[in-house]
Each structure stands twice: as structure tokens, then as C-alpha cells.
């Protein structure tokens, strides 16, 4: 047997793929957790189909889980993978396009029979030839057979045995990356704490996979070692964006000393926020699964009126339905956090895929002048900070606030350094003052911040009415007076405009960049990686990622007009660029607009940015602006 080379890599991307029921998410999740445990940076991206259980072995039923691990921080789940695990023919057929040309492909050779190939729409049994895959890069392992052999004395039935195939693949990948099997064992013992027999079966299959790799060297030219560098000491856990959002709400409620209320209606890809919060009744969290999106938002408004920290979670189609109620929260000036986990649209669109196409909807999609703060989280872990800050702004400025995340960061995960509650910013709800007792008027405001004072039912001396009708700014009674309405619109607008948000930071070659990349929210990782790649190629490039969209940071115009060339890159057809053009006189950026439902491809966008720098960009021609690239 030839001597095996151990390659030292800075970063590597592994993609696990198989049938929806093959447990690929679990295998990927264990691998990322184990890698994070040894101090690697991680970023994950589950790519799952909209069907719950598509026909077994079919092309539409393939589910993927991509893990990016690196010696330092990694910003994205990676473009293309170095290792692709394909548990059946359909997975190979649909997922190979996510693999690098020299990637190692691990397949379950037992799942490439004539029927499997037919279901995956291969024309012949030369599936590698059809896909133009070099057989030297393929580890064709009879996984099903070996798992059956491994568990033949376990007393498990055939169906249960086959469920462990994912663990064999995991074991093989662990060998490939020199991962300690003991960490996997520990994970499985914890996961199946109540079913020790299942834990043991899974562990023995993981070991079988690992040993298979070690004994055969699995016909691969190299195994990999990812060292851990730039470690920030501390205690960590793996967290998805949706879970981090839920945690942010709970942390804010505790910091503000308020009851947390979530009104929600199931919708992909936001439902995990409801699931997560529903679990934590022992923290006093109230979750109400409403009869529809309208009731979800409306009940949250009722809860806010009654003095709770109220939130409602949904995706774009749900925002359409909540809009009327969101507007009530605007005119009532009640604190409310509206979480929009964006997905592909319009209409039902691509429920499990990711876009940033709700930006203008949440900013402007309501009748009347309806200003609302908008925050866009930049990564799975940033969902925690963004949710926390959304609550803080809502409570301190008595306004509904939209938190934008999307399917990509909501389902993706990363290692998260555990925060200390008392190190998070303080939250001071803008409560009514004692000296207003018995002379309270709900729409008198602090003259500086323009924020009204919050009195809640149960407090004696502050009875009042809030309503959807325009009110007199002094007395709170219904008013159709033209001057008053003009004033009230301006006050509501001014209140939001006066919210202080952090300045826009510039990363990279802040002083002398030839190109400034501008994005918002979840594209941060990819844009940061693209910037890094361009700087490695010798270009001067900077990145300014907007997290606070309304109000914009005070220095936004100054930053965006400081550079020779600016490209606004986003996953929609130019919504942020349009907004910035409205806000900044004469601002005409290049635009990179992609709405494919998939994360941006770092390498590809870096090349486009390079062409902008080198003036090699060709006008699109078929759009109203020639600067769309």
C-alpha cells in the first residue's frame, strides 16, 4: 500500500448528500460540531428540498448539508466542496455540480444499481462517464453491505440498520480529516442518551467507516489536517441563525425585565424560531401559534399593549399578511419585533431557498407614511445580536422593528461564543414617568428622542386609548386636522430617524481601495471572502456591510462617496442600490444582483469585482441601468 500523504489545509469544504431521509443533516452536523470542538472555524449550510419525503431515490428528494471548516474564522459555507459524499445515484447526479474539479467523491456503491440509476435518470450504467467524473477521485464503498454486516448481530431490523448508513459515511470522512472518533462517540452518547442501544449501534458503524478508511486508505491520494489558529479562548456552542434569533429574544426579555410573547404561524423557513421558543416554557416564554399570520401579529400587538416584549416571526408571504397590523403598531407606537426570515419569492416562490428580496417590502410595503426601523443580521451568530438590538430599539423607542434574516443564515450554523447576560447592552423601556400620573396623554413625547411614554394596563392613573385613527398629538383624541396630521407624520418619521445606530465600518483597504463592496445582511460572509480573495490577488478592495438599514448609519453617504468605484452586491434585483440612490444624491454604483435562491459564489463574484476594477465590465444592456453586472 502506498504511503499516504497528509495535506495541511487552511480550509476545506465537505458536502454530505443523500435522500431526504438518509440523515445527511445529522452527519454534517456531527462533523461540524466535532471540528468546532477542536477549535476549527465552522460554517454550515443545509440545502434541503421543499418536499418532506419525495419518492425514494428521486432527483427532487436529494438533501445536502455543506460544512466549511478552517484553521481560523470561516465566513461562508464555501463555494464548492473538496469532498462530496453521495449516498445514492440521485445525490451524485444533482450534487456533483457543487464539487471542485479535483474533489474526492465518496459514494455508496450499493446504491448505484440499475433501478437507482434509472430513478436518477442516468442513461447507462457508466454513471461516472456520463458525469465526466474521473474514477481516480471516487471512493466507491459498499456502504449498505458493510453497515448490514456491522449490525447483523445487533438485533435491529433491516429498516433501522439502513438508517445508520449516514454514520458510516461520517466515520469515513472523520478518517479523511484525522478527526478523533472519541468526540463523535461523545456526541452520539449525548444525542441518544435515552436510547443507549441506538447510540452503540451508531458508534460501531462510525468506527466501521473510520476503519474502512484506515485499512484501505480508501483509494484516496491524501488525507487532510486542518489545524486551529487564531483561536479566541472561551466557551462555544454550535448555533443556527433561527436558534440564535430565539436566544436573542429571550436574552433581551430578561435584560429588559419583561415577559416574552411570540405570536406566530408556521411558515418555512421561519418556523424553527417558534419551535425553539415553544421549548423554553421554563423560562416563562409565551408562544401562541395563531390561526393565521394576521392573528399572529395582532395578538403580539395586544401583548405589547399589555406590557410584554412582543414578537412575531414569519417569512415574506407572512409579511404581506401582517402588513396591516404592522402599520397599527406604527401609528400606535408600540414596541414590536417582526422577524422576516426571507425566502425566494414572489408569492410562494422557493420556500426553502434564500433571497434578500423583502428589503423594500419591509421598508415601504404599507399604506401611508409608515417608518419602521430595519435591521439585517449578517451571519447565523449575528442573528443573536441583531435580535437583541431589535428588541432594545423597539422597547426604548416604542416602535415596531423589522429583523431581516434569510433561509441561508437561519438554517446555517456557526460556532458561537457564549455571551454573558450582564455584558450585553442594558435595555431601558421608555416607560411612563411617575409625574404623569392622572395627567397622562399617550402621545406626549420626549422632546429629544420624540419617543412617547409607555403606560400599560394595570397601572393606575394612566388609562388611555390607542387607535388606528390619526390622533391629536397633545390630547390623543381622534383628529383629522390637516396641520396635526402633517405634524404627526413628521414626528413618527423623526422618531425613527433619530434612533442612534453604530457607524458603518469599512473593512479591508479602507484608506485606498479601488473598489468598495457594499452589501447588507446575510451576504457578509461571501462578500468578505470575495474581498479577501481579491486582496490576495493584489487588489485594493474594501467592504462596507450594512446591518442597520433604517435608519442608515450617519456616515453612510460619506463612506459610500469616498471611493472611486462602488459595487452594491445583493440577492435581489437591486433593492439596496435603489434605496441608496434615493438617500445619496448622485450615487450611481455598479450593481451585482443575483436571485438564484443559493448563496453567492465567492470565487465567481470576486472575478466579477476584479473585472470592475480592471474596467473590463460589459454593460448588461437589457436593463435600465448599464452598471448592472
Amino acid at each position: 500500500m502506498a504511503e499516504l500523504e497528509v495535506k495541511e489545509l487552511e480550509a476545506v469544504v465537505v458536502r454530505f448528500s443523500g435522500d431526504s431521509g438518509d440523515g445527511m443533516q445529522l452527519a454534517g452536523n456531527i462533523f461540524s460540531t466535532v471540528s468546532a470542538t477542536v477549535g476549527n472555524g465552522i460554517s454550515t449550510f443545509p440545502d434541503y428540498p421543499a418536499d418532506i419525503r419525495a419518492p425514494h431515490g428521486s432527483l427532487t428528494g436529494v438533501s445536502g448539508y455543506q460544512v466549511h471548516i478552517g484553521e481560523g474564522q470561516v465566513y461562508t459555507p464555501g463555494d464548492k466542496c473538496d469532498v462530496l459524499v453521495a449516498m445514492n445515484a440521485a445525490a451524485l447526479k444533482t450534487q456533483y455540480r457543487h464539487a471542485k474539479p479535483l474533489a474526492t467523491i465518496i459514494i455508496d456503491a450499493d446504491s448505484f444499481g440499475p433501478a437507482d440509476l434509472k430513478k436518477a435518470q442516468f442513461a447507462s450504467d457508466d454513471y461516472l462517464g456520463e458525469m465526466k467524473i474521473n474514477p481516480d477521485h471516487v471512493v466507491a464503498c459498499p456502504i449498505t453491505t458493510m453497515v448490514k454486516d456491522c449490525l447483523q448481530d445487533s438485533g435491529m431490523d433491516n429498516k433501522a440498520i439502513l438508517k445508520c448508513r449516514n454514520m458510516f459515511a461520517l466515520g469515513l470522512v472523520c478518517w479523511l480529516f484525522n478527526r478523533e472518533i472519541s468526540l463523535v462517540e461523545q456526541f452520539l452518547h449525548e444525542k441518544f442518551a435515552k436510547k443507549p442501544a441506538v447510540a452503540e449501534a451508531n458508534i460501531s458503524v462510525v468506527k466501521a467507516g473510520y476503519n474502512y478508511g484506515a485499512n484501505t486508505h480508501a483509494s484516496v491520494p491524501a488525507t487532510y489536517r486542518i489545524e486551529s489558529k487564531h483561536k479566541v479562548p472561551g466557551r462555544y456552542m454550535d448555533i443556527t441563525g433561527n436558534k440564535a434569533t430565539a436566544y436573542g429574544l429571550m436574552a433581551a426579555a430578561e435584560r429588559a425585565g419583561l415577559k416574552l410573547y411570540l405570536g406566530s404561524y408556521p411558515i418555512t423557513p421561519a418556523t424553527d424560531i417558534l419551535h425553539e421558543l415553544a421549548k423554553h416554557k421554563s423560562m416563562g416564554v409565551i408562544t401562541m401559534q395563531a390561526e393565521d399570520e394576521l392573528a399572529a401579529c395582532s395578538s403580539a400587538i395586544g401583548a405589547a399593549f399589555a406590557g410584554a416584549l412582543a414578537a412575531t416571526s414569519t417569512s415574506g408571504p407572512g409579511i404581506c399578511l401582517k402588513s396591516e397590523a404592522m402599520n397599527l403598531a406604527v401609528i400606535d407606537e408600540l414596541p414590536l419585533v417582526i422577524i422576516d426570515v426571507q425566502r425566494g419569492g414572489p408569492s410562494t416562490g422557493l420556500p426553502t431557498k434564500s433571497e434578500q428580496t423583502d428589503l423594500l417590502q419591509v421598508l415601504y410595503g404599507r399604506n401611508g407614511e409608515s417608518p419602521m426601523p430595519v435591521i439585517a443580521a449578517t451571519s447565523p451568530t449575528d442573528c443573536f445580536d441583531a435580535a437583541f438590538m431589535a428588541c432594545k430599539i423597539a422597547l426604548e423607542h416604542l416602535t415596531p422593528v423589522v429583523l431581516l434574516t434569510d433561509a441561508f443564515i437561519a438554517n446555517g450554523s456557526a460556532a458561537w461564543k457564549l455571551p454573558k447576560l450582564d455584558e450585553l447592552p442594558e435595555i431601558h423601556p421608555h416607560r411612563v414617568l411617575e409625574n404623569q400620573k392622572f395627567k397622562y396623554s399617550p402621545y406626549r413625547r420626549d422632546p429629544e428622542s420624540l419617543v412617547r411614554y409607555w403606560a400599560v394596563p394595570g397601572q393606575e392613573g394612566y388609562t388611555h386609548i390607542l387607535g388606528g385613527l390619526e390622533k391629536d398629538g397633545e390630547t390623543g383624541t381622534i383628529s383629522t386636522d390637516p396641520e396635526n396630521h402633517h405634524l404627526m407624520d413628521n414626528l413618527r418619521f423623526g422618531k425613527v430617524a433619530r434612533i442612534h445606530v453604530p457607524d458603518l465600518e469599512v473593512e479591508g483597504d479602507a484608506d485606498d481601495a479601488d473598489l468598495l463592496i457594499v452589501g447588507f445582511g446575510s451576504t457578509y460572509g461571501h462578500l468578505h471572502a470575495a474581498m479577501a480573495e481579491l486582496r490576495r490577488r493584489g487588489h485594493k478592495v474594501a467592504l462596507a456591510q450594512l446591518k442597520y438599514i433604517n435608519p442608515l448609519p450617519a456616515n453612510t453617504a460619506e463612506v459610500l462617496t469616498r471611493y472611486k468605484k462602488v459595487v452594491v452586491a445583493e440577492q435581489n434585483l437591486g433593492q439596496l442600490a435603489a434605496l441608496l440612490r434615493i438617500r445619496i444624491n448622485g450615487f450611481t454604483p455598479y450593481q451585482l444582483d443575483r436571485v438564484k435562491g443559493q448563496p453567492l459564489r465567492t470565487h465567481r463574484i470576486a472575478t466579477i469585482f476584479e473585472n470592475i476594477i480592471l474596467d473590463k465590465i460589459h454593460a448588461n444592456g437589457d436593463t435600465f441601468t448599464s452598471r448592472i453586472v
Partner: protein
């Protein structure tokens, strides 16, 4: 502390003269004073429509919200602070058309809110369109040749949504209205009080046969738990069960005595006869039932939420954010 009607009064109502909303508002304020719940512990929530202006005229915590959503908003208020007495004021359009979904789900959940359904069988604020309770053939601005659809009967919807409390009164009948409002407030769980109401401008004569005291003596029956179901100027008529239905009989005629008359049971779990009472109408030779028709105890949503929280608190070891963090798989980087 004792409260008087004046403690619940505010502003100058701007409904049309003769509108049933005026008398209903006075009855509600009277009921509130008699219940003695402090104004600051009371929340009145409405949607959109003539009757939904009512919260502007009560000196409590109040919200006048958006069309149809009052039940959902009231649910949030009650769940967030179960100490409050929550009233929801809706019309037939607000509550049963645009807000129909929230109405049935509030009933199903049995959240402890008191839903007032002011039924004048017309859209008044938008100046006279038929509503979901307008009778088939009803001529209005939006149905110049008469409607070709059947109306909802609020009681039927309430019972169909597994409601546990239903009562009915005529807006101009203060005694009857105050009585059912107090009963509703004292009932734990979702209640519906259907208030039959005239619209002098767009549907004058709605509920005419029972709108006056004299009319009610002839054409209505006041039902009371544990009392025989009798009506008429001399209480000479009564209801008996016959076959699958009810029948009006004259006491002393055809061999019927007072002992044959059905005794009202508002607390009966089985709602069959209560529904039959609620569905009686003059068109079919029956009196219209007024008073508390159904009043059955059942677990409430808001209490159940807090009971579950206490249960889980006792069972799970983490109760604050930092304890929550510790429930995860954590690793340390040194």
C-alpha cells in the same frame, strides 16, 4: 373601592341619534360599575365600524384597532396580562366577516375575553352594504336586487366553534343587557353577547318585533337557568320538547301544565337544546330567546398557558438565559 358609572364615562359619543350604540354604551358602563373592576384593570378592544368607536367613550385602557382583528388583539392582551378584564366590541361585519376566523378561534381556544357582537345586520360606517347577518334577499346599496346568500346566525357559529357562553339582549333593553354583560364578565372563558341593535339610518326596523318592551313580551322569551321556559304577557306560553325540536304550547290548553314546560339548563354540557333555543325566530312561530342561553365551565386558554409554564418550570432545571445556554453541547477553546 366602589366605582360609579361616571368612573367609566369619557368623551361625547358621536353616533347617530337613535342608534342602538348609545343605549348599549350606557348599559356597558353600568355593568362595569356594578362589577367593580377598576378602570385601570379593564381593557376594551375594538376593530373597525360604528360600534368599534365605543372604546373612545370608556375611561379604561382601550384600543380601537384594525378591521376584524379585535379578537386576536384582545387574546394577546389577556394572555400577556391575565389579571385584566378584557372586553372586545365588534359589529356583525367586523366580527363575523373580516374577523370571522379570529372569532371562531377565540371561541375554540376559550380565552377569557368577553366578545360583544353588536348585530344591526348592516355595514353602517361605509354607508349601507349588506352584512353577513343580513337576511337572504336583503336590499342594500351593494345588493340593489336583494342578496342571494344566506346569513350567519351568530349563535350557530359560536356553538359550532365549541363556545361555552352565549347570551343575547336587545340594545334598548338596559336591564337585560346589563344582566348578560355581568354574567359574561363573571364567566371564565370566551363569552359572546349578541346585542340586537337597530340602525336608524341604513337598516331601520332591524329586530323590530322585539325592539320595544311590548314587542318583547309577545315575541321574545327571557331564559333563566333553572326556570321554566315561559313567555307572553301573562306567562301563558311555554316551550316543550317534541320529537327532535321545540314546540310552543299554551299552558292550560291541550292538557299542558306548567310541569310539562322545559326548565332551562344553561350549564348543560350538551348544547343541543341550548342551540335550539338560540335559533328560535319569529318567522317560524317562536319567540326570540334573550338572556344567558349557554354558560358552561371549561378550562381557559390563558390559565392553561400559565399552568403549563409552572409545570415545565418545575420539571426543567433552567429558568434564566445563562442556565439555558448550559443545556447545549458546549466546548471550550483555550
Amino acid at each position: 373601592m366602589n366605582y360609579t358609572v361616571n368612573d367609566y364615562k369619557k368623551g361625547q359619543p358621536r353616533w347617530c341619534p337613535g342608534c342602538g350604540d348609545h343605549s348599549f354604551l350606557a348599559s356597558l358602563q353600568k355593568a362595569m360599575a356594578e362589577l367593580g373592576v377598576p378602570p385601570y384593570q379593564t381593557a376594551v378592544i375594538s376593530g373597525i365600524g360604528c360600534s368599534s368607536r365605543l372604546p373612545y367613550y370608556v375611561n379604561t385602557y382601550a384600543m380601537q384597532t384594525i378591521h376584524g382583528r379585535a379578537a386576536a388583539i384582545a387574546t394577546g392582551v389577556k394572555v400577556a396580562n391575565p389579571e385584566l378584564t378584557v372586553w372586545q366590541v365588534s359589529g356583525d361585519g367586523d366580527g363575523l366577516a373580516i374577523g370571522g376566523n379570529h372569532f371562531i378561534h377565540a371561541m375554540r381556544r376559550n380565552v377569557d375575553i368577553n366578545i360583544i357582537l353588536l348585530n344591526n345586520r348592516i355595514y353602517g360606517l361605509t354607508k349601507g352594504q349588506y352584512s353577513p347577518t343580513s337576511p337572504r334577499g336583503f336590499v342594500s346599496k351593494s345588493s340593489p336586487y336583494g342578496t342571494v346568500e344566506d346569513p350567519f346566525r351568530p349563535a350557530e357559529l359560536c356553538f359550532g366553534a365549541r363556545g361555552h357562553f352565549f347570551a343575547r339582549a336587545v340594545a334598548t333593553d338596559s336591564t337585560g343587557t346589563v344582566h348578560i354583560l355581568k354574567a359574561a364578565a363573571q364567566h371564565k372563558g370566551a363569552t359572546v353577547c349578541e346585542i340586537l341593535q337597530n340602525c336608524v339610518i341604513f337598516n331601520n326596523g332591524a329586530h323590530e318585533p322585539i325592539y320595544t318592551r311590548e314587542g318583547r313580551e309577545r315575541n321574545a322569551i327571557y331564559v333563566e337557568h333553572g326556570k321554566p321556559l315561559v313567555f307572553g304577557e301573562q306567562k301563558q306560553y311555554g316551550l316543550v320538547q317534541e320529537g327532535f325540536g321545540l314546540k310552543v304550547v299554551e299552558i292550560g290548553k291541550d292538557g299542558y301544565t306548567l310541569d310539562d314546560i322545559l326548565v332551562h339548563d344553561a350549564h348543560c354540557q350538551d348544547n343541543t337544546l341550548q342551540l335550539k333555543l338560540a335559533m328560535m325566530d319569529n318567522e317560524h312561530g317562536f319567540p326570540v330567546a334573550l338572556g344567558v342561553i349557554r354558560d358552561v365551565e371549561a378550562p381557559t386558554y390563558d390559565e392553561a398557558i400559565y399552568a403549563q409554564i409552572e409545570e415545565v418550570k418545575a420539571a426543567k432545571p433552567y429558568h434564566c438565559f445563562e442556565e439555558l445556554l448550559e443545556t447545549n453541547d458546549i466546548w471550550e477553546v483555550k
